[in-house]
């Protein structure tokens, strides 16, 4: 089996923590899944993750969580990717 974070997993295959996350998302209104995920991502970022690569990874993971968790009516959350500007 390939372990790709973009591929949906059956509940039996999910790590316990991911399963808990999926349970939380399933309790949300479909329209609120992405906004709340964005809030969660922001909260994690504010916990001290200042590295651009880490921040990008947070949002990248959050983007595909609805699909991974098989959330109805939601496939991905189109978060805006953080784009560092030119450093000159």
């Amino acid at each position: 089996f390939e372990d790709d974070m973009e591929n949906p997993q059956s509940p039996q295959q999910r790590p316990p923590l991911l399963q808990q996350c999926c349970n939380e998302l399933h309790q949300e209104e479909p329209l609120c899944v992405c906004p709340t995920l964005k809030g969660a991502s922001k909260a994690v970022k504010q916990q001290g993750q200042q590295l651009q690569q880490v921040i990008s990874r947070i949002y990248q993971t959050a983007t595909h969580l609805p699909k991974v968790c098989n959330i109805p009516q939601v496939s991905v959350c189109p978060f805006q990717k953080t784009m560092p500007g030119p450093s000159y």
Binding site: M5, L17, L18, Q20, C21, N23, E24, L25, E29, L31, C32, P35, T36, L37, G39, A40, S41, K42, A43, V44, Q46, Q47, Q49, Q53, V54, I55, R57, I58, T61, A62, L65
Partner: protein, 37 residues
């Protein structure tokens, strides 16, 4: 009289200490585990 249909209100005031706590932990774990590649 039926009022106007109201879209489900999302929780604007995000409570980072409680809401989607498992998801926050999962996002943090995934971000920190990411290596080169």
């Amino acid at each position: 009289p039926a009022g106007p249909f109201r879209i489900p209100k999302c929780r604007k005031e995000f409570q980072q200490a409680q809401h989607l706590r498992a998801c926050q932990q999962w996002l943090h774990k995934q971000a920190m585990q990411s290596g080169s590649g």
